[in-house]
């Protein structure tokens, strides 16, 4: 059959966000592809240099609508470290609670979207229905369903009242039961398994050399989680585990994400039950001393890295945002080559692309020749603990 070019995007039902793939197919099989992810490039990094620390946080939060708390936290964490401000334990716990609730809602959202990509709308509806419980909790705690705006330099904006904590805890048992139901559904829904198993396989070596992060890397057996590697907030004080899997395909990523929902739930419950007293914010100076930091954070999709340089004023000299989705695109391009056209949505969805994050930055890469010449480093490559 002759080769045809199928443009996917920028406006396409599989993609809720603008992105463009030019998929060259031979019949149904993909032989080459080009990605263009720049459709929502807005210029946030430039704007961040021009706004003070108070006004920049809502902007940083709006890098992405799903991992908004991640970006705000990683930024304020970095600034606080440069300033040498230690935020009070209560603020750290509140940040952790919001962060893990955000991870839960994001993973549930992902599970639904992945099911939708393979046409399984019922699971899509159910996960989003249950996600509303998480969103309600977030709304009660922070005042907004999506952009929580809980962070400010030196602590958090809002305190949690005992009644709010109780209401949030009351929702937990229902969610626990739902997570158990999802585990069952993913295990025994045959048509979905045929679409997930063996699709988008990424070996451990590939995951490492393509720089995959987050659940994508962890599903390939790479134990890479910033929360354990470079503990921030209270992750070194509370009990939790890194979820990994060895399947390396979409099925493995699904299992990792469902496992992480359960872990996050445990963390949220632990934090709510052991919420320390005290103030919620420390006095932070207006301006930050000159300095630089690479602030890392484990967002739902993987590692977010903000490289922040300050210059003694109330503005940053430079903030360089590396989003998890950007790190994962190379592996996606690699996974897609040779797959049927029908697998494009599910493989792309499997990394949980957050294109608004990514499209500050963009790449176009035909995936065939990626990484052929990369020499394997001779050290241990186990990435296990």
């Amino acid at each position: 059959m002759t080769r045809i070019v199928v443009p996917i995007g920028p406006q396409h039902p599989a993609l809720k966000e603008p992105v463009n793939f030019r998929v060259v197919t031979d019949g149904e099989r993909i032989v080459d592809l080009e990605l263009n992810l720049s459709y929502s490039h807005r210029g946030i990094e430039k704007a961040a240099e021009q706004r003070d620390f108070i006004r920049v946080l809502p902007l940083i939060e709006r890098v992405c609508g799903i991992c908004s708390h991640s970006h705000a936290t990683v930024f304020s964490k970095g600034i606080e470290e440069i300033m040498g401000v230690e935020i009070p334990p209560r603020a750290q716990y509140i940040r952790t609670i919001i962060a893990e609730l955000e991870r839960m809602h994001s993973h549930m959202l992902w599970l639904g979207v992945a099911a939708h990509e393979v046409g399984f709308n019922t699971l899509f509806m159910w996960t989003w229905r249950d996600r509303e419980a998480v969103l309600d909790t977030l709304e009660e705690l922070s005042g907004n369903r999506v952009h929580y705006n809980m962070n400010e330099i030196g602590g958090v904006r809002l305190d949690l009242s005992p009644s709010q904590v109780e209401a949030a805890l009351a929702r937990m048992p229902v969610l626990e039961e739902r997570i158990r139901a999802y585990v069952g559904m993913v295990e025994d829904e045959e048509t979905m398994l045929t679409r997930f198993r063996g699709v988008g396989s990424l070996s451990r070596e590939e995951a490492l050399s393509f720089g995959a992060v987050g659940p994508t890397a962890r599903a390939s057996g790479v134990d890479y989680d910033v929360r354990k590697d470079d503990p921030y907030l209270v992750y070194d004080e509370i009990p939790w585990n890194v979820v990994t899997d060895t399947n390396g395909d979409v099925y493995g990523r699904t299992k990792v994400r469902i496992g992480e929902i359960a872990e996050s739930l445990g963390i949220v419950r632990h934090c709510l039950e052991n919420l320390p007293g005290g103030p919620i914010r420390a006095e932070a100076p207006k301006a930050a001393p000159p300095g630089e930091i690479l602030s890392r954070y484990e967002a739902p999709r993987g590692e977010v890295a903000h490289f922040i340089r300050t210059n003694g004023t109330a503005r940053v000299e430079r903030v360089d945002i590396r989003t998890p989705t950007l790190a994962n695109w190379t592996s996606v391009a690699h996974c897609l080559i040779g797959r049927p056209l029908a697998d494009v949505p599910v493989i792309v969805a499997a990394i949980d692309p957050c294109l608004s994050c990514t499209s500050r930055i963009t790449l176009v890469k035909s995936g065939g020749d990626l990484g052929k010449d990369a020499p394997p480093p001779n050290g241990p490559r186990g990435w296990s603990r």
Partner: protein, 324 residues
């Protein structure tokens, strides 16, 4: 029913086109409502399919650049006409007055036409999604048509007739064919699901892959007619399976009055088609879309094999005289 006026009334009003139209609307409503309820939501109101149809009819018709307009206009009409014609041969209130030996073949043939029209539309649309969708539709046709036809031919083997009405009549004296040929019944149901391009077989119009497949460039009345053709296909398909496998209007005891008998038969027809719809809706809600290559495996390895096994079983049953 030799009176020409009665015949015209049969064709146009009841249980002909008008009834088919109304019933297909109800059918789509039921389908959407059942699926919505299984997804734990309310679902559309009763008039929804009708409102959709009227609204789509009133939308602007846009011709894609370089499209062959007459054929583009004609294809949906042909699809709809084929399905409506096929409905006349399916018994609804007693045997169809137009029945003849071999009408089963005609109905099966006419039910294939919408798919071909869809492929034509896909090719004509000058749109890459539509073209890919068109190819997928035809590829799928080759896969599911063999087991579907085999499954529907099995009753003819046992009943010894090629007329739907006669097969139905045969079941009045014998057991219902769904019990005698369970494998063929299941294969036919799955085949119907594939024919109607519903999940897990909505490969040609896979929304997340190729937007809406052959439907992508359809607007206004073309879209409305194709939708209507699809909805009526659902009614005709379930009515066909109800007649051939579930004994159609046959009921075990005899009713004296002709009108009462027709009414009971009609109600039975409604009940059986809705039951089939329920099964189809459950399949739609409980499955994910399969890939074309996976459908190939399913179609040839399992469905066709099952249908062939059923042929063997039927031949053995006929030779030994079981159930006949």
């Amino acid at each position: 029913m030799t009176d020409p006026f009665l015949l015209i009334a049969y064709i146009l009003l009841f249980p002909g086109f008008l009834f088919l139209f109304a019933y297909s609307m109800t059918f789509e409503f039921l389908d959407r409502r059942i699926v919505a309820r299984m997804q734990n939501r309310v679902g559309p109101p009763f008039f929804q399919p009708f409102a959709d149809l009227v609204k789509t009819l009133g939308k602007e018709v846009i011709d894609p650049r370089g499209v062959d307009r007459p054929i583009f206009d004609a294809a949906p009409v042909v699809a709809l006409a084929a399905v409506m014609t096929s409905f006349l041969y399916v018994p609804i209130i007693g045997p169809s007055p137009l029945a003849f030996q071999g009408d089963l073949v005609l109905v099966l043939y006419l039910l294939t036409l919408p798919t071909l029209a869809l492929m034509l539309l896909g090719w004509l649309s000058r749109n890459i999604y539509a073209a890919v969708g068109g190819i997928r539709a035809v590829t799928m046709l080759f896969i599911y048509e063999v087991p579907f036809f085999l499954a529907l031919m099995m009753p003819t083997l046992m009943a010894g007739t090629w007329s739907i009405s006669d097969i139905m009549a045969w079941q009045e004296e014998h057991l219902c064919l769904a019990i005698l040929q369970p494998i063929a019944f299941i294969v036919a149901l799955i085949g119907l699901q594939a024919k109607l391009e519903r999940t897990p077989f909505d490969i040609p119009e896979a929304e997340t892959e190729i937007v809406a497949g052959p439907w992508t460039e359809l607007t206004g009345r073309r879209l409305a007619l194709m939708h209507l053709a699809n909805e009526t296909s659902a009614v005709v398909g379930s009515a066909l399976i109800a007649a051939v496998f579930l004994g159609g209007l046959a009921f075990p005891w005899t009713v004296e009055s002709a009108i009462l008998s027709a009414t009971v038969g009609f109600l039975l027809f409604l009940a059986k088609t809705v039951a089939i719809l329920l099964v189809l809706s459950i399949i739609r809600a409980a499955t994910a879309r399969v890939r074309l290559d996976q459908l190939n495996t399913i179609g040839w390895k399992y469905l066709t094999m099952a249908a062939l096994a059923q042929v063997g079983i039927v031949l053995v049953m006929m030779a030994s005289g079981v159930g006949i």
